[in-house]
């Protein structure tokens, strides 16, 4: 189909305008819906500690902390395990196994989050209470982060479920970006007498760092925003957790657990929580972009050949 240049331009501009319009509409509605909360409560409620709608208190601090803590636990587990798995898939596993393992990873990425949540609540929570939490307490108890009873549900389990959920994403993306590090880099290192491990650590991982950061950003975004699975396993307590074993809540779990009965200022405060979540997400993205920009210099693509 031959369209004149002007028509192409018009078509693309229209499609792009629809997209921009949707984003603007969404952000503006979020702000409009959250506005009553801000006009009634000012701004300080965002960082206040108490969530008690019946007494007009809508402090978001416990949920902001819960969101950050669960995401942090997930990433602490996902970064080394995800990177290691990706390296194995890209460089160590025999070729005939790579395809089937790769499919398994993609399958895990496609599991709906509510299924992970259910599995976490029914299967993992008892194991966590009986074995994992006592073990963690005995090993890391001295840090003071593991006080209180073993309950199964709580920050630890939510972090673990998020880890399981973001792992396939991280592995799939990391594997792909590690696999495209140019072979002449790998051979260059080998020819200098590098061991296989040195090749991976000094050449392959640094060569792929931009893409690896991209994978990490996507994983962080997913962990920050995950709702149902977290709501099922975190215990949903509106108080600041004083132990990693405590029940807590995140911004998404707060919203999904409360929107049904919320009216007036409470509903508006939930939209406010959504706005805060959006700001955190955008902030993480901006940070990742800055990191990528500062490390992209000297990336594989910039080596010139005369």
């Amino acid at each position: 189909m031959a369209l004149p240049n002007g028509a192409y331009r018009g078509l693309l501009a229209t499609v792009a305008a629809v997209f921009v319009g949707l984003v603007l509409w969404f952000v503006i509605s979020l702000i409009v819906q959250a506005k009553p909360a801000f006009s009634t409560l000012g701004f300080s409620w965002i960082v206040q500690k108490t969530w008690d709608p019946t007494h007009g208190k809508f402090g978001l601090l416990p949920f902001i902390l819960g969101t950050i803590e669960t995401t942090a636990i997930a990433l602490v587990l996902a970064v080394p395990i995800g990177l290691g798995t990706a390296l194995a898939l890209a460089y160590l596993v025999p070729h005939r196994l790579r395809a089937s393992l790769g499919t398994a990873v993609e399958l895990l990425a496609a599991v709906p989050s509510v299924v992970y949540g259910l599995w976490g609540l029914i299967v993992l929570a008892p194991l966590c209470r009986e074995y994992l939490e006592p073990f963690l307490t005995s090993v890391f108890g001295w840090t003071g982060l593991f006080n209180g009873p073993d309950q199964g549900v709580g920050l630890v389990l939510a972090g673990i479920i998020l880890f399981v959920m973001v792992l396939p994403t991280m592995v799939a993306i990391s594997r792909d970006v590690l696999a495209v590090v140019p072979n002449d880099q790998v051979e260059g290192a080998m020819a200098l007498g590098a061991t296989r491990w040195q090749v991976l650590r000094k050449v392959v991982v640094p060569g792929a760092r931009t893409g690896l950061l991209g994978g990490l950003t996507l994983a962080t975004g997913r962990a920050l925003g995950e709702t149902v699975a977290v709501a099922l396993v975190i215990g949903n307590s509106p108080y600041i957790a004083h132990s990693i074993k405590s029940p807590a809540a995140t911004l998404p779990s707060l919203i999904v657990n409360n929107f049904g009965e919320a009216t007036g200022t409470e509903l508006s405060a939930l939209f406010g929580a959504g706005l805060v979540l959006l700001v955190i997400g955008v902030g993480v993205n901006a940070m990742a972009r800055a990191l990528v920009r500062s490390t992209a210099r000297g990336g594989a693509a910039s080596v010139a050949v005369a």
Binding site: A189, A191, L192, G193, A194
Partner: protein
């Protein structure tokens, strides 16, 4: 900043991996011996039954048309085929007293004794010029800054890159021109103090001026290291090499050695008519 000093004399140089003191090359003695070397991929021969000696302190050129197995043969000499699952190498390759393919020979250690420069300059893009130069030493466990500095300077001087790079050692390797990048790759290989340097068409990605400089450099380097160079450019082989191995694809699509001998003789009065045809440009 390190002060410029002349490169370490031949007698002082040691291989950083094995700690062996490198002997003053007694020019002309065989340092690598290939005996009936065959490389095959998935059971199909790529190069078959090659036998010749590489003489110490000399430049040996592998010439022949595309598909004659030059590069395949070269990569067999430092066991680069190890990573290819379907590859197999038979026959014997000896480096001094070391049997390259013996089960007891450590391939990574071997590669610190037999360096390699590739067709396209492949400096590590995430490392600076300095880091690239000392990368091989670091892989081999050298940590002392003074040693690294000294080796970097010596290698960059030997690769004729010191004058242009000394003031920007911390700059990324990607800021160098293509010819400079290739000289950096040569410096990187020299820094490990290999006994043999394999060069796989090292000028094929470079312009004529950069090519000329690399060729001059190769001539200077033979006092430091034994060189085996693959080239499809007969003028280049004639200009730089002492001995030449002429390979040709045989009936079964596998490369075979047609003639081996001093370069001057191979080009002026070859014994095999096929060599004569090739060096006179009648095919290939």
């Amino acid at each position: 900043m390190i002060e410029p000093t002349p490169p370490a004399s031949v007698e002082e140089r040691v291989n950083f991996n094995t700690g062996e003191v490198l002997m003053n090359p007694s020019v002309g003695e065989p340092i690598m011996r290939l005996d009936d070397v065959t490389v095959s991929f998935a059971g199909r021969n790529a190069v078959r039954g090659v036998t010749f000696d590489v003489h110490q302190g000399e430049i040996t050129a592998l010439i022949g048309p595309s598909g004659s197995g030059k590069t395949t043969l070269l990569r067999a000499l430092n066991r680069m085929h190890d990573t290819v699952r379907t590859a197999s190498v038979t026959g014997s390759v000896k480096l001094g007293a070391t049997d390259v393919y013996a089960g007891t020979t450590d391939a990574t250690l071997l590669r610190s004794r037999v360096g390699m420069v590739f067709q396209r300059p492949n400096p590590f893009p995430t490392m600076s010029i300095y880091e690239n130069t000392v990368a091989g030493l670091k892989f081999n466990g050298v940590r002392k800054k003074a040693l690294l500095d000294e080796a970097a300077e010596s290698a960059l001087i030997a690769a004729a890159l010191w004058d242009s790079a000394r003031d920007r050692l911390k700059a990324h390797a990607s800021t160098l021109s293509g010819g400079e990048q290739q000289r950096l790759c040569i410096a990187r290989a020299l820094a490990v103090e290999p006994e043999v340097l394999l060069m796989d068409e090292p000028t094929s990605a470079l312009d004529p001026i950069a090519t000329k400089r690399i060729e001059e450099l190769i001539g200077e380097l033979k006092h430091r290291v034994t060189i085996i160079i693959v080239t499809h450019n007969m003028q280049q082989a004639m200009r730089v090499s002492d001995r030449c191995a002429f390979l040709l694809m045989g009936e079964d699509k596998a490369g075979e050695l047609i003639e081996f001998g001093p370069t001057a003789k191979l080009f002026s009065e070859p014994t095999d008519p096929r060599t004569l045809d090739y060096v006179n440009g009648r095919f290939g």
